[in-house]
Symmetry: C2
Subunit: 456 residues, 2 copies
């Protein structure tokens, strides 16, 4: 196996693509804490969840025992349009760094949504269609999730209603236009189409919107509209399940050529990309079959794992969602306005939070400027212009590769390149113009967020 | 062969990638007419061309007899970062159309430049570096070529000076930012950095720039600056040579699975994508080995092949380039201002012009609205959001597939999807808002352009 010639880019054949998702929770001894009904503080039941989510997705959300779940053929067919994604050896980056480390990255940006988000969007749209729904609602910030969902809904023939944070709606007209092109209807949030939006507009007429408010509006519409449900692109365990295709493909590609990863690195906002990438590696680690160092990289300006509290919190700023136990900065936490790019979520997937709390993975955080420096170095060496989010993983990988340079170790580093930066050039412009600043929240800043945590 | 199971997307293995370019001119009985020195009206010589172009590229420009030219290993290594590009069966589009035709498309958009342009940019940057030059100059309109060249120059360590048509510089700040991120210096054209630019600004202080003027500025700088040469992303025969990798990969993929193409379709602006795609198919046709229908699709608003004159003309509006014999609308022709997207070049590659004149290929033209309708249909069915340029080929393929539906013929249609539309959402917005108009030049409009043709 090991002496088979390793191509520059490993593309699996279609027959090697995963036919089942891997549910990491099944192998966790300490299961992630259940979502709680914020009214009763009791674990959410299937009937309660099915008011908001598609039934099959609610089942997946609650299932922490089934290790493998079949991927319906319709979803496999959709994903064949853009999967497999390549696992690429970063030869040029290695050379530039002068490191003995071997660096591989799994690139999820080769689809029109520009990121890994399509993996879960296609699953969620499929289940909504199968349930006979008319459409789905969601929110989007930077726009990758909204784009992915619009594409999946266009394909499966579903209505797609997107609440887009007003500031993004105005600053990213082209993201909005991509979604419109796929037939989605896009409303800037807060809007006068919902009670929550009207209330927000009455209280803060000049607000540029928040992801939390957009979530609240999308849920209000889903619950109130016949034949609609709400879908979410990150944080939830069902999303990590769908994203496991990233890790499964990566693992198959490595195994095929007898490559052993030592370190697996991903960026972490809500956790969907990282959770998907690490799933099969963490599974081996949980089952005691092999050890890996697994590193979550987050922005120093929004350090949920590195500096957050492990506590029950709302998933949204509007406080209408169930409570999730997670590493959180408090649902009112908003990163400093200088924060470019994504990864601005206050919390973290319950699955990843539990694994982190159990000492099974590490966290690292970097300032914006460090991250963009790494992004530009990567772009020039490897060609691909990375998303600011994904560039956190690049920075993490470069740092580990430089450690290998010092020690002379030939470690194998695998990182997730979750998306492209085509729609984030405003952030690059700030960096190119030297106008990027690196505010990191003080302990006092963070304490304000912790003070608002619900008493559970 | 034929009964091997055909994957949804055919990815060649690295060992199957072309190691030589195919020079279509070698198989042409009627060679394309030579470039003429506009002063002497004599064919351009190697020394004359080498003032403007890198020497190796000038040689390639003049070579119409060598059928296969080795691709230097350094270029192969660069191209492995984003090649092979997939040949994709458009199952979903076929189903939507209800056609018995089998549709395949070669997708060149999976790289940061978003198009096939990188195939020639990497070759041209390599030869410039090998010649020991400090840098290259070029112009860019929509920005795909400029982006591709910036990427290639960053990789090979060359200075990259781009003159960007002022209106694009202002309306496409993110395209500009991508180039800056790769280290290129971008100047809006016309500028006060050149004599030609100053003259233009003095005469037309409010001009938003033209591609012709940007070409003239880039050439002026290249000729006047020690260690610099000028590079061009389309029209030239050397560019078609480099782009032959598109067609060679396509042909290898089809042959590998025993698929016989009946019709090959590409969009045509200056001809680089079409010329690259059709090269090996046209080669078989020229050698009498197999017949194909080959169709160039162009915008009705800029119909060089369909309605142009076959005559010697300047390659630029500034009339500083050599004269090329080509189908042209006259170098002063500017498409109506409503024209969205690319393919706005007044002329056409001399190679393609000669083939068209010899009746070896057909031309079709469509209005903008028809093209965007096809683009949106394709995006919803196949996921990929196409560039407006590439969407001309989609429209051509759809029309041929619908003819098959009428006749019941199971033809195999192959088309080139040369790029993505991520940086062209302004055009999509016009279409989505119903604000796209379809002005087609009248015969009188065209006559004005023909009247300005140089007397050769």
């Amino acid at each position: 196996m090991a002496n088979k010639e390793i191509p520059y880019k490993i593309f699996l054949s279609e027959s090697e693509l995963p036919k089942q998702w891997y549910n990491l929770r099944a192998d966790m001894k300490n299961k992630p804490a259940p979502l709680l009904n914020p009214g009763t503080l009791q674990p959410m039941t299937l009937p309660e969840m099915s008011v908001v989510f598609c039934e099959e997705l609610a089942k997946q959300e609650l299932d922490d025992t089934t290790p493998y779940i079949d991927i319906p053929e319709e979803i496999q067919a959709f994903q064949k349009m853009y999967r497999p994604s390549p696992l690429i050896r970063a030869y040029c980056l290695e050379e530039k760094l002068g490191t003995p480390a071997k660096i591989y990255y799994k690139f999820e940006g080769n689809n029109t949504s520009g990121s890994h988000k399509l993996n879960s969007a296609s699953a969620q749209a499929y289940y909504a269609k199968k349930q006979g729904l008319k459409g789905v609602t969601t929110e989007t910030g930077a726009g990758q999730w909204g784009t992915a969902l619009s594409m999946a809904c266009a394909y499966f023939g579903l209505d797609c209603i997107v609440y887009m944070v007003k500031v993004s709606y105005e600053q990213k007209p082209y993201r909005r236009e991509v979604m419109r092109t796929y037939g989605a209807s896009i409303t800037p949030s807060p809007s006068d189409t919902t009670q929550i939006g009207k209330k927000m507009l009455a209280e803060h007429p000049d607000t540029t919107g928040t992801l939390g408010c957009a979530i609240s509006e999308a849920i209000e519409v889903a619950v109130g509209k016949e034949g609609y449900r709400y879908v979410l692109g990150s944080v939830l365990s069902q999303v990590l399940l769908h994203q496991s295709v990233i890790g499964l493909e990566t693992k198959t590609a490595l195994d095929k050529y007898g490559i052993k990863a030592d370190i697996v690195i991903g960026c972490a906002g809500g956790g969907s990309n990282l959770g998907g990438l690490i799933a099969p590696f963490m599974g081996e680690k949980l089952r005691g079959e092999r050890d890996y160092r697994i590193i979550a990289v987050e922005p120093a300006s929004c350090p949920s794992l590195s500096r957050g509290k492990y506590a029950y919190d709302f998933c949204d700023t509007g406080r209408v969602t169930p409570l999730a136990k997670m590493y959180t900065l408090g649902c009112d936490f908003i990163p400093a306005p200088n924060h470019a790019g994504g990864l601005r979520y206050h919390g973290m997937s319950s699955v990843l939070s539990q694994l982190y709390d159990d000492g099974l993975m590490e966290a690292a955080s970097y300032t914006q400027t460090e991250v963009f420096e790494a992004a530009v170095m990567f772009a020039k060496a490897e060609g691909i212009l990375p998303a600011p989010e994904s560039s956190h993983a690049i920075k993490g990988a470069i740092d580990e590769a430089l450690k290998c340079k010092e020690t002379g170790e030939e470690k194998t580093i695998v990182f997730g390149l979750s998306g492209t930066g085509y729609f984030d050039m405003m952030s690059y412009q700030k960096y190119n113009d030297g106008e990027m600043s690196d505010y990191v929240p003080t302990d006092a800043d963070l304490q304000k967020g912790f003070d608002t945590l619900p008493k559970v």
